[in-house]
C-alpha cells in the first residue's frame, strides 16, 4: 500500500515539476523574444521553414476541407430549402473554427515535429552545450526565431486556408451542385463579421505560440540517444495537438 502511495506521490511530483519547467520555458522564451529577438536572418529562415514550406499542405488540406464542407452543407441545407446559405456555412465554419485548428494541426505535423527533432539532435550531440560554453544564449538562436516565425506564419497560413477553403466549397456547391453563385458570396458577405475574422486570426496566433513552445521545449529537454529524440518528437506532436484543441475550446468560449 505504501509503495502505491509513494508511486502516486512520485508521479504527481514529477508532473508538477514538468509543468513548472514548461511554464518557465515559455516565460523565458517570451522574455528573450521581447528583450533580444535575434538576427532577422534567423527569423526569415524559420519563416521560410514554418510558413512557406507549409503552403502546399495547407493548400491541399484547405481545398478538400472546403469541398467536403460544400458537399455536407449542401445536403443538410437542402433539407430546409436553404441552399443559398451554403457560402455562409462554409465561410463561418472555416474562418471561426476549422481554418485555425486544421492549420495548426498541419503545421504541428510538418514543422513542429521537425523542430523537436532538430533541437533534440542538437541537445544530444552537445551542440547546445557548445553554444552555452561560448557564453551565447541558445534561446536567442534556437527558440526565439522559431517562436516569432510561428507567431507570424500561423495567422498568414490560416488566412490562406480560409480563402482556399471557401473556394473549395464554391467549387463543389456552385460548380458541381448548382447553388446560385451570387447567393453563395452575397450571403457570406452578409453573415461574416470582422469579429469572426479577428477571432480566427487571434486563435491561429495563439496556436503559433503553442506549436513553437511545445516543439522547442520537447527538443530542448530530449532524453538520451536516438530513442530520446524519437520519444520527444512523438510527445511533442501529441501534446501540441491536444493543447491546440483544448485551448481552442477555451478561446472559443471566451470569444463567442
Amino acid at each position: 500500500m505504501s509503495a502505491l502511495v509513494q508511486s502516486i506521490g512520485h508521479s504527481t511530483l514529477g508532473f508538477v515539476r514538468e509543468l513548472g519547467r514548461m511554464g518557465w520555458f515559455l516565460i523565458y522564451s517570451l522574455y528573450v523574444t521581447a528583450r533580444r529577438p535575434g538576427s532577422p536572418l534567423y527569423i526569415l529562415k524559420q519563416l521560410k521553414f514554418i510558413g512557406a514550406k507549409s503552403l502546399f499542405v495547407i493548400f491541399l488540406t484547405a481545398a478538400f476541407t472546403g469541398m467536403v464542407l460544400g458537399l455536407q452543407g449542401y445536403y443538410t441545407l437542402r433539407k430546409f430549402g436553404s441552399e443559398g446559405m451554403l457560402g455562409t456555412a462554409v465561410a463561418l465554419s472555416l474562418i471561426r473554427e476549422l481554418g485555425p485548428v486544421l492549420t495548426a494541426l498541419m503545421v504541428t505535423g510538418r514543422a513542429g515535429s521537425a523542430i523537436t527533432a532538430e533541437i533534440g539532435i542538437m541537445r544530444i550531440t552537445e551542440q547546445i552545450d557548445a553554444m552555452e560554453t561560448m557564453a551565447l544564449d541558445p534561446f536567442k538562436y534556437l527558440i526565439t526565431p522559431k517562436l516569432i516565425a510561428a507567431m507570424i506564419a500561423l495567422p498568414l497560413l490560416c488566412s490562406i486556408f480560409d480563402v482556399v477553403g471557401i473556394y473549395g466549397g464554391w467549387l463543389v456547391g456552385v460548380k458541381l451542385l448548382g447553388v446560385n453563385p451570387g447567393a453563395y458570396f452575397y450571403e457570406m458577405e452578409k453573415a461574416v463579421l470582422w469579429q469572426d475574422v479577428y477571432s480566427g486570426i487571434l486563435k491561429s496566433f495563439s496556436f503559433g505560440v503553442i506549436i513553437a513552445w511545445i516543439s522547442c521545449y520537447k527538443g530542448f529537454f530530449a532524453g538520451h540517444g536516438a530513442e530520446g529524440v524519437s520519444k520527444a518528437t512523438t510527445e511533442s506532436v501529441v501534446l501540441t495537438s491536444v493543447l491546440v484543441l483544448v485551448w481552442d475550446y477555451f478561446l472559443t468560449s471566451v470569444l463567442l
Binding site: I121, M122, T125, E126, Q127, D129, A130, E132, T133, M134, A135, L136, D137
Partner: protein, 248 residues
Amino acid sequence: MIKLSNIHKSFDSQTVLNGLNLDIPAGEITAIIGPSGEGKSVLIKHMIGLLRPDSGSVEVEGENILTVRRSQLNHIREKFGMLFQNAALFDSMNVFENVAFPLQEKTKLSRDEISTRVFSALENVGLKNVEKKFPDELSGGMKKRVALARALLLNPKIILFDEPTTGLDPIIKRAIHQLIKETHAKFGFTAVIVSHEIPEIFDIAQNVAMLYKGEILQYGPAEEIMNSTHPVVKQFISGSLDGPIQLV
C-alpha cells in the same frame, strides 16, 4: 584558477561525484584520468556550469559560478573554450561558419577581419580547403581540429578538453597532442584535459588527477602520479587486469 569543493552529484539513484575536491592551477595543463564511466566528463562540465552539483561549490578565479546571475555566468564563460568529446560542431553550418560563429556573435569585427582570423585559425590546426565542407563530410580527426580552432579563436584563458583524441588513429592522436602542447606554449592558457591516453598524456600534462569512485584519489605532478605506488593508480596506468579495479 578553478576550485571545486566538496562536489556531490547524483543522477537518479546513481552517485557520480561524491565529495570531490580539486584545485586546478593557472597556466598549467592538468589531466584528469580514471576508468570509463567514473564521471570525468561530468566533472569537466561542472567547471563551466553546464551541470550543477547537488551540493558543493565551483569557483573560477575566486567567483562561485553556482551563485552568480546568468549574465555574470556568461561573463565568466567568456574566459573558457571547450573541446567536446564529439567535437559538437553545428551540423547545419559549414566549417567556416562554425569557426566564425563565436567571432560574429561576440565581436564587432568586419567580415574581412573575421575571414582572415578563421583562415588563420584553421591553418594553425593544419586544415586547408575545408571551409565549405559540412561536419558530416569530415573525418573524426578533422572535426576535432575544427572544434579546436573554434575553441582557440577568442584566445580563452581556460580551455577544457573532453577526451580530445578518443577514437582517432595514432598519428592524428599525436598531432592533436602536439597541437595542444604547442598552442599552450604559445598562448599560456590553463588547460584541463580528460583523457584515457596513457602514457602519452603524462608527456603533455604538468599535473594529473586520478578520479575513482566519485573522488580524486590522487593528484599531483605528472611524474609523481606516473610512478605512484597506490594500487588503484598503478593498475590503471599499467592497464593490468589484476588489481582493485574490477571490470564489472
